[in-house]
């Protein structure tokens, strides 16, 4: 029977001989993730159940990243619940401030996710790791508590929608524009309960950072995950991150690569739907308030005056995002009166940005360069908007009040559009500088 890559991964994590979309399954998970917002609730449920010990202290990841470094007393308490639990249960992958980063940039960077893995995270953007060819999906705190206990999670086997991207990308157009275009085309529930499978020559040409950006926002179309079949670029990335299998020796690595090579959807598989896009004419896009599907070309929004620009988040806080922004900003100043907040997603990215001189470019141009945190993306800290303020951000959501006051506005775009807009003070296509 032909299977999608998703079905192959799910099947490999059950005791079943066969699965089909719509089936309910209990599956073994390879990794369970929680953060300073969702894990405290999971830990409370874990304790209430009477459980004493987690199923496996190597397959749980705890990252205080949302309101960390702790923004106030209550957040400090949440972070402490994580730290104490990690210590008590000897959780190997607990990342304290100083080691931490935004979880969805951090886990791949640390080599914790492999193609073919089944990953759950009590955070909706867990779908990011689909870019590595894993089945990774967001769940709730009670799901996480249950996984702490027996390493399992229930799933409804999802249907898959295939997206094929063809053509040649214009300058300044990347993963963010492709995913905004997709969400704009199918709507915020266009993939509700389905897996989005990204494919085609354009995806093959994207670097891993751009692929992570695309998979990251699958949830913004209701997708269970946004999966990409692993290829040479995936292996190169895993090799460079000193993935745990790489460390075990050349032979194990080549055997593993062979197995990963089989992680492809069968050619005769039935998709729920197939979308084929020619993206050659695509120009930089912006999602306007208050839905990620409210997408318009950046060049048509030149009248939108901004108070703040944020470059960061699990969507676009990676090194290639900062490089693009710094390249455009070099030798220029941001618009006086506008606030530019740049947040590298992890400590490693932070250091790279310092070493490469990117941090200096941002600061000299009048921006701030922050320690890693989810911070303003969800209206936590480090750049909250007051009534009537407008922000363009490289983040993933522009819901009402997402970055602060319910009467503030968030526009979503790529790092290139973000930095061009920071220079002019209005939403700006980078070509117009």
């Amino acid at each position: 029977m032909p299977y999608t890559i998703t079905e192959k991964i799910l099947l490999a994590h059950t005791n079943k001989k066969d699965i089909k979309p719509g089936d309910f399954i209990e599956a073994r998970i390879d990794l369970a993730l929680g953060n300073d917002i969702t894990a405290p609730l999971a830990i409370e449920e874990f304790r209430k159940s009477g459980a004493k010990k987690v199923f496996n202290n190597k397959e749980i990841v705890l990252v205080p990243d949302h309101f960390a470094p702790a923004k106030d007393l209550k957040s400090a308490n949440q972070c402490k619940i994580l730290a104490d639990f990690a210590k008590e249960q000897r959780i190997k992958n607990y990342f304290e401030v100083g080691c931490m980063g935004i979880e969805h940039a951090l886990l791949p960077e640390k080599g914790l996710v492999s193609p073919g893995d089944l990953v759950i995270g009590a955070d909706s953007h867990t779908c990011t790791y689909g870019a590595l060819g894993s089945f990774a999906t967001g769940v709730g705190s009670t799901d996480l508590a249950r996984a702490f206990i027996d390493g399992k999670c229930w799933f409804k086997v999802p249907d898959a929608i295939k997206f094929i991207y063809k053509g040649t990308l214009n300058k300044w157009v990347g993963g963010k524009d492709l995913i905004l275009y997709t969400i704009g085309s199918i709507g915020v529930d266009g993939a509700l309960g389905k897996v989005m499978e990204f494919s085609g020559p354009v995806i093959e040409g994207l670097n891993m950072d751009d692929r992570f950006t695309m998979s990251n926002m699958a949830i913004e179309a209701g997708g269970v995950t946004g999966i990409i079949e692993p290829d040479e670029k995936t292996y190169e990335y895993l090799h460079a991150t000193r993935h745990r299998l790489h460390a075990t020796g050349k032979k194990a690595w080549s055997l593993q690569r062979e197995a990963w090579g089989r992680l492809k959807s069968d050619t005769d598989v039935t998709y729920e739907r197939v979308y084929e896009y020619d993206v050659s004419k695509l120009e930089p896009l912006v999602a306007c308030p208050h839905l990620p599907s409210n997408v318009k070309p950046a060049e048509k929004l030149g009248s939108i005056v901004l108070d703040q620009v944020v470059i960061g988040s699990c969507t676009n806080g990676r090194i290639s995002d900062l490089r693009i922004a710094a390249k455009i900003l070099k030798g220029r100043m941001i618009k006086p009166g506008l606030r530019l907040i740049v947040i590298p997603a992890t400590q490693k990215i932070y250091l790279e940005a310092v070493k490469e001189g990117l941090a200096e470019i941002f600061v000299k141009a009048g921006g701030v360069f922050s320690t890693p945190t989810c911070g303003p993306c969800l209206g936590g800290h480090m750049g909250i908007l007051t009534e009537g303020e407008r922000c363009l951000a490289t983040t993933n959501r522009n819901f009402i009040g997402r970055m602060g006051h319910p009467k503030s506005e968030v526009y979503l775009a790529s790092p290139a559009v973000a930095v061009a807009s920071a220079i002019t003070g209005r939403i700006t296509h980078p070509d117009l500088l």
Partner: protein, 182 residues
């Protein structure tokens, strides 16, 4: 279980930031979360809700963040059930796991009219027929929604057996206790 209460009507794509803003995610206390439920889009919501009332909404209810605080906030402010055209995936599983009653009443679900109405015209799309302030009576076990204000009855599809087991057990944690014991 029968839930009888007044309707609070919402539109499409109500996200979990709407249900409970991130700034309040520093507690797991359901009452405290409930006090800020829907604050960004309906500031007086939590003060208007009486215990046992019902939310009726359009498509994609609970989209966005995975925060389980959202269904917990709804419970905390007194909401007894949510009826919507469709539910976002993570909200759906959270509601199952923590035992927040919800029913999907979509455009194409079979609709059963009361005798009098059956002769007049066939009712389609229950959610659009339900108005803010209507009184509903929901029979959860059978998935039947009676609109007492409009004298209509809407049928919803039954939950699949697997989910029914979690619901019957009283949520995921009770369910796995039962399964792991057995």
């Amino acid at each position: 279980m029968i839930i009888k209460g007044r309707v609070h009507k919402f539109g499409n794509d109500i996200n979990t930031d709407d249900i409970i803003a991130a700034k309040y995610l520093v507690t797991a206390d359901e009452q405290e979360l409930g006090r800020h439920c829907m604050e960004n889009i309906a500031p007086d919501f939590s003060s208007k809700v009486n215990k046992g009332e019902i939310i009726v909404a359009g498509k994609n209810f609970g989209c966005g963040s995975s925060r389980e605080h959202a269904p917990r906030a709804l419970k905390g402010c007194g909401i007894a059930a949510v009826v919507a055209k469709s539910f976002a995936g993570i909200f759906f599983r959270n509601a199952i796991n923590i035992g927040l009653p919800f029913l999907q009443l979509d455009d194409v679900d079979p609709v059963r009219n009361t005798k009098a109405l059956r002769e007049e015209n066939r009712i389609s799309n229950g959610v659009d027929k339900i108005k803010d302030g209507d009184s509903l009576e929901i029979d959860l076990a059978h998935g039947i929604i009676k609109n007492l204000s409009a004298n209509q009855v809407y049928n919803t599809a039954a939950f699949p057996e697997f989910l029914q087991e979690i619901i019957t057990a009283g949520g995921l944690m009770n369910y796995i206790k039962k399964v792991n014991r057995g």
